[in-house]
């Protein structure tokens, strides 16, 4: 056990946890932000995607101690009630089916658009590696493009 200082969605937390505990579990079980999901635990599916700084990372394989004092953002932190332009595009295209993967997809897309404001299909294929088992991939592409147009 160790005391670890974290900043999640601009709020500071002091967490008393095993330093090796994956960030995902700290976010969900200690801080209680459950928008970030578990899908595999081995950095394969992307359901657990959050931002550390501006980069999308898979929180299920990041030990919490490695992100001390860094800016962590979860789906709850990009807007208050889903009004981030990427979330709005998602809603407009009506992307989700079961929705379970979508927090991770949105977080990956937000990071992509920050680094590349006009991604092509190839850029999307390359950087969006999150799994959607319901098969919403084509609508995700559409929504990313819509968000990119809306700037």
């Amino acid at each position: 056990m160790a005391t670890i200082n974290l900043t999640v969605n601009k709020k500071k937390y002091e967490v008393d946890a095993d330093p090796q505990m994956p960030l995902l579990w700290v976010i969900r079980d200690f801080i209680g932000l459950t928008g970030t999901k578990y899908g595999c635990g081995i950095a394969q599916c992307g359901a657990c995607t959050v931002h550390v700084g501006d980069a999308a990372v898979r929180s299920c394989t990041i030990p919490v101690e490695s992100v001390r004092d860094q800016q962590i953002t979860t789906i709850e932190g990009i807007s208050k009630d889903g009004e981030h332009p990427v979330q709005r595009a998602w809603e407009e295209i009506d992307v989700p089916q079961c929705g379970y993967c979508q927090s991770g997809q949105i977080m990956a897309a937000v990071a992509l658009l920050k680094s590349n404001s006009k991604p092509t299909d190839e850029d999307i294929n390359e950087s969006m590696t999150n799994i959607c088992r319901c098969g919403t991939y084509n609508r995700i592409k559409k929504a990313i493009k819509l968000a990119s147009e809306n700037g």
């Binding site: 709020k11 500071k12 937390y13 002091e14 967490v15 008393d16 946890a17 095993d18 505990m21 994956p22 579990w25 079980d29 200690f30 801080i31 209680g32 932000l33 459950t34 928008g35 970030t36 999901k37 578990y38 899908g39 595999c40 635990g41 081995i42 394969q44 599916c45 359901a47 979860t74 789906i75 807007s79 009630d81 889903g82 979330q87 998602w90 809603e91 009506d94 992307v95 989700p96 089916q97 079961c98 929705g99 379970y100 993967c101 979508q102 927090s103 949105i106 999307i124 294929n125 390359e126 969006m128 590696t129 799994i131 088992r133 319901c134 098969g135 919403t136 991939y137 084509n138 609508r139």
Partner: protein, 716 residues
């Protein structure tokens, strides 16, 4: 600054209000209806009304409800809001939206006025489950009828109140309008102070699909915002005061039995509890990681039992299958016709076990209080899980409430209640609410699979290019979709159940995928042997107009007759399941130097009768096709000695962004035909269409699913 440790967990705002979880022990019936739900006017649909009785009986066994018990109801409350109660559940197929559209249409109310209460065994009437594409064709039309009856009743009430003939009252936008004076009454006002429960009036007129204004349109997903903001609470997100997390000790392989277990070391700290009850060992802890660490410390000895491996599975399935001793006369006749033919083919098709991989693994939260058990779990059969729990704990069903919030998908893979039973068992032992969320590995190893199957067939055509003999045997994978949609002079078709070494169960479209893959592969190879265009050969052997319709629609959109580039191939396939029809065309390209095969584009044409929500239908078709793409190309479960060898998303491959080719979907809106379900049928066309396109491009006739788990090598 917020200081958090696990001890603080209970101070956090809770997802679930404790008052919500008091199970009242009531099941709702006509007598206690208004007492429990408040006044107003309601209409109840009985089971015998919703389902064809014989069909219901087959799948339900002992759970058969009283024929006249309620299957669903619609309730107009005194404030004018409308509640629809059905035991159906939402797993991403968007029936929460489509059923509400149908009710809004027939009741003439704006859609936002409707709240769908689903999958709660306390509040919703019994339902056998959400599977088999039954919601749209069975529940849909009956809810429409109920809504239409309710609207007529309201019109009559208004006419009586205004002392005018009912023809002078119009129902519109949730209001009753006096056509003479223009006076208007809200539905809520007319139901005020009333407690009326009506039966369905079968004579009530339905709005024909041609006149739909709410149904038939692409309204967005109900509560769509909650799914993009991360606010929707899945079962795995739920938390109760004082809740602990459970983990269960699993056998190292199928069939292994526990010899001994030293559990003492698992007691890593005071807040860990180890639970051991005949053959079941589990631990609880304040967080999942501590629970997992504790579980790992248990030293268990197992006795393994021999199990067949993937390498020998098809021999095993055939040897263990039910064979008939006396040959069926139809079989002898089919053989004779086959032998007499010059244009004939025999084929053997192997289909591997595949996994559903719902992105939200099995999860449950369970709590006991005053002998009442409340469980939240992601299941397609909340009432089935309620029965499983009643049996396991010897408590009456009326003391158990199972609730299914909209869940992170299922695809036929969540019919069972494993996590619910585990959470309830631990909760009972530790006297606290317990949450159990399966890991991905547990989901791969201990859920169930789509059955593997072996198919053997022989077919012949006569000189006119018509099928003269058809013999078809499926071992283990199932009888769904086994019937030949084409005309044939003689046919013998048989499903042979077998003993499966892996746990198998339902899956989108069940065995239709395997059977239609085999049928459509055979059709293509026969066409090739006849040197006929595979599309023309199919059309010549078909009578079914709807199947012909989707074939032509897909081929038209695809440009079937267009010239193709060298080393490119076109493939086509079609099929129907439960009154909906799919045809799929695929173009593949084979790069000979790199030995890379790529699927370049897909066109799917689908007809499921009158379309309730075009956008959501397209989404379902797309979801099916893309899920089917995985099973077609690379998904397969590997196993040996009772162990699953690829129980992770790095070793079991599912389709990702880069795997998805351009996909065009053509929806045929048949307003003259009742709506059928759409979550299954579109999956069946993709595998044979790809297989046939590969044969067209390369001459290689593949005969197993998945087709190219290791890529396609033409050499060796």
């Amino acid at each position: 600054m917020d200081k958090l440790s696990l001890a603080d967990k209970t101070q956090r705002p809770k997802a679930i209000n404790a008052s919500e979880i008091q199970s009242s022990g009531y099941t709702i019936n006509r007598r206690n209806f208004f007492k429990l739900l408040g006044g107003g006017v309601a209409i109840a649909l009985t089971h015998s009304y919703v389902y064809a009785w014989q069909e219901l009986g087959q799948s339900m066994g002992s759970a058969l409800p009283d024929e006249e018990s309620i299957a669903a109801w619609i309730h107009i409350l005194e404030d004018g809001s409308i509640s629809v109660f059905t035991g159906k559940v939402e797993v991403g197929q968007n029936i929460r939206t489509s059923l509400a559209q149908l009710v809004a249409e027939e009741l003439a109310v704006p859609l936002p006025r409707i709240t769908m209460t689903m999958g709660d065994t306390l509040l919703c009437p019994y339902d056998q489950g959400t599977y088999g594409s039954r919601t749209t064709p069975y529940m849909g039309p009956k809810l429409r009828k109920a809504a239409a009856s309710l609207k007529e009743a309201l019109v009559e009430m208004a006419a009586t109140q205004w002392k005018i003939p009912k023809e002078s009252v119009q129902a519109k936008d949730g209001q009753l309008i006096h056509s003479g004076s223009g006076q208007a009454l809200d539905y809520g006002e007319i139901t005020k102070g009333k407690k009326i429960l009506l039966p369905v009036n079968d004579q009530a007129a339905l709005t024909p699909p041609q006149q739909w204004t709410i149904a038939g349109t692409s309204v967005p997903k109900t509560n769509g915002r909650d799914f993009v903001s991360g606010k929707h609470q899945y079962v795995s997100d739920m938390e109760l005061p004082d809740m602990v997390y459970g983990k269960i000790l699993r056998a190292p392989s199928y069939g292994a039995s526990l010899v001994s277990a030293a559990i003492e070391k698992a007691q890593v700290s005071a807040n860990v509890t180890v639970v051991q009850e005949e053959g079941f060992i589990g631990v609880t802890a304040p967080d999942p990681q501590t629970a997992a660490n504790a579980l790992a410390k248990i030293d268990a000895q197992w006795h393994a039992a021999p199990q067949p491996a993937k390498a020998e599975i098809f021999t095993y399935l055939k040897e263990n299958s039910r064979q008939n001793n006396n040959e069926d006369p139809a079989q002898a006749e089919a053989r004779k016709a086959f032998e007499a033919s010059t244009i004939r083919l025999e084929q053997r098709v192997e289909v591997q076990y595949i996994a559903h991989v719902p992105l939200e693994p099995r999860a449950a939260v369970a709590t006991w209080g005053d002998g009442q058990l409340t469980v939240w779990t992601g299941t397609q059969r909340p009432f089935g899980v309620q029965e499983e729990l009643a049996e396991a704990f010897s408590v009456p069903k009326s003391s158990i409430r199972v609730f299914m919030p909209d869940t992170g998908s299922a695809y036929g893979g969540k019919h069972s209640g494993e996590a619910a039973l585990e959470a309830a068992r631990l909760a009972k032992a530790v006297g606290k609410p317990v949450k159990v969320v399966w890991t991905r590995e547990e989901e791969f190893k201990w859920a169930y699979f789509r059955p593997a199957g072996l198919i053997e067939m022989a077919a012949a055509v006569d000189d006119d290019g018509l099928i003269s003999s058809w013999e078809f045997h499926n071992y283990n994978s199932g009888g769904a979709g086994i019937d030949l949609p084409y005309e044939a002079s003689v046919k013998h078709i048989q499903f042979h159940p077998s003993r499966t070494p892996l746990k198998q169960g339902s899956y989108r479209a069940l065995a239709s995928t395997a059977n239609i893959f085999a049928i459509e592969s055979m059709m293509d190879d026969l066409a090739r042997q006849l040197k006929q265009n595979p599309l023309d050969f199919r059309l010549a052997n078909l009578k079914d107009e709807r199947l012909k319709g989707v074939l032509k629609a897909a081929a038209g959109k695809f440009g079937w007759e267009k010239e193709k580039v060298a080393d490119h191939g076109y493939g086509i396939a079609c099929g129907f399941v439960k009154n909906s029809y799919i045809a799929t065309c695929v173009e593949v390209a084979y790069n000979r130097s790199s030995e890379q095969l790529s699927v370049l584009r897909i066109v799917a044409a689908f007809d499921c009768g009158a379309i309730v929500n075009p956008l959501h239908l397209e989404n379902q078709v797309m979801g099916c096709v893309l899920q089917g793409l995985g099973g077609a190309l690379f998904e397969e479960v590997d196993f040996k000695d009772g162990r699953i060898l690829n129980p992770s998303l790095s070793s079991y491959r599912v389709p990702r962004f880069a795997d998805i080719p351009p996909l065009d979907i053509v929806l045929l809106d048949r307003k003259d035909i009742p709506s059928a379900g759409a979550g299954e049928t579109p999956i069946v066309g993709i595998a044979p269409a790809i297989r046939n396109a590969i044969a067209d491009a390369t001459g290689v006739k593949l005969s197993s699913l998945p087709l190219i788990p290791q890529g396609l090598k033409l050499t060796n």
